[in-house]
Each structure stands twice: as structure tokens, then as C-alpha cells.
Symmetry: C2
């Protein structure tokens, strides 16, 4: 199938705050060419923080992409392309929730935007949570609350 679809050019069209936007020129077995969008993103990690009583710490924050607050598990971008997902998840857990964990296990890897973006999200589960100190980024506004699974 590598012979049926081939990239013959990649051009950087725009560099955003966290993204690079490219225009790819693709050539097909039938001789046709098409322009495809390609977005480069460092990658991200997320973590499901499970309290000793089974409740899960969730984050409420404002997301401009949907123009409303969302309820999510703690997550964040990798600091650099090479950063280990586990390191990022450990950091985001403490920064956003104020809890530390010495028991973080990999759960799954998601690639949900394969059509146009390389973003990979590594998801972990954190147990044995110990209260530490929340230290949000300067322009970060999030609310933390534990939820039971049924909630």
C-alpha cells in the first residue's frame, strides 16, 4: 500500500504556538495528486487519578475550541518531542490536582486525529495518591473535584 499512496512534497505553511501546519502533496497509484493537511504536535499525556476510595479526580477548565467548560482527566502537552509520556503524566498530575503518586501505570495510547495530525496521547492510571501541592501555570485556571464512576 506504500506504493499506492506516496508523499512527494511537504511544505511548512504556518507555525503556531504549539503546532506546525504543513501542506503535503500526495501522489496516488492512479497518477492523481492531492493536497493533504498535516499538523505536527509534540504529543500529550493524560492520567486517570484514582483516590483510595475509588473516586476519580477530574478537571474542569475552559476550552476555547468548544467555547465552554469541559470535564476532563488531567492532561498536558509533552514539554518536548522526546519527553517520556510517564514523566509528563506525573508532572501534570501534581501540577493540576496537587496529588503525587508512586504508582502510575500505562493504560493505553490514543491516536484519534490520524487523518490530519500526528498527535499521540499516552494515558496512565495513578493510584496511591498523596496530597502534595497544586502549582498551576501562570495562565492556567482549572477546578479539581473527585467523581465516582457512576457520576
Amino acid at each position: 500500500m506504500g506504493e499506492q499512496v506516496k508523499r512527494i512534497a511537504r511544505e511548512l505553511m504556518y507555525e503556531g504556538a504549539i503546532l506546525k501546519v504543513y501542506k503535503d502533496t500526495m501522489k496516488f497509484e492512479n497518477g492523481n495528486e492531492e493536497k493533504w493537511d498535516y499538523i505536527y504536535h509534540h504529543g500529550a499525556a493524560a492520567v486517570v487519578p484514582v483516590l483510595d476510595d475509588g473516586r476519580i479526580l477530574m478537571v474542569t477548565q475552559y476550552r476555547e475550541t468548544v467555547e465552554r467548560e469541559t470535564l476532563e482527566i488531567p492532561a498536558g502537552k509533552l514539554d518536548s518531542a522526546g519527553e517520556e509520556g510517564l514523566l509528563c503524566a506525573t508532572r501534570e498530575l501534581e501540577e493540576e490536582t496537587g496529588y503525587k503518586s508512586d504508582d502510575i501505570e500505562w493504560l493505553l495510547t490514543m491516536r484519534t486525529t490520524l487523518g490530519f495530525c500526528n498527535e499521540k496521547i499516552e494515558i496512565y492510571v495513578a493510584k496511591n495518591l498523596k496530597l502534595s501541592k497544586q502549582h498551576l501555570d501562570e495562565n492556567e485556571y482549572v477546578d479539581i473535584k473527585p467523581y465516582t464512576i457512576s457520576e
Copy 2:
């Protein structure tokens, strides 16, 4: 929280084949400003096609974003921003797999790139599949194969 984080400008920076790329200027309660990336995408739909024997039809296709073939459930972009996810899933099912279904039910909605993109993916389950005719887009190369859950 709407008062803590506010968009004060949005500028179209690049228009790709299927995406529009914007630069948002965000203002925070603390007086700071930041540039955020915002990618507009019509949205997409995906479908889990379940054969009568319980196997699931999966699609192998080349994804330039990861530079390899991937195994996925059939999915595709909405034809336009207003298209119903169900309509799109029904169309993609027949186009990609060659099967029709009169029993398609909504399973869940995913928004996995909320940090920078509005893409919403509606996911459906299709049962009672009837063989029809695969009709791929001109430049679309995919392989279809049924898999058991354990595979």
C-alpha cells in the same frame, strides 16, 4: 470561569484542504495575554460494523501523519459542517466496506483534541449488515477485513 479566560481576537492564518487554522488572542484574569492555536474541522463520524457472527469489519489504510498503515474502524469527514453524523456514518460504511445496514445506533461522541481543535467524532454501531457494493473515492486505497474481538 468564563471571566478568567477570554478570547479577545481570532485571526485566520491559513486555510488548508480540510482545516482552517486560526491564531486566537486570549486574555486572562491576571491581565496576561497568550496566543492559542485553534483548528477548525467540520467534524467526522465513525462506525463499528458488526457482522452477524460477531466479527468487526476493520479498515487498513495508509496514514501519512504516522507514515504507516493503520487498522481502524471505518470513518470519514462530514460532507459539510451541518451534516448529520448518522448520515455520514451510513455513507462511509457502504463506501469503505461495501456493506449496508438498517440498524445503526449511536454509541458515543469523542472530542479528543480539545486543546487546539474543535473536531467532534460521532461513533455508531452498525448491525444487520447486508452486502452491497464498495465504492471508494477515486484516490482512496483501503483494505477491509473482519476481525474477532480477541484478535
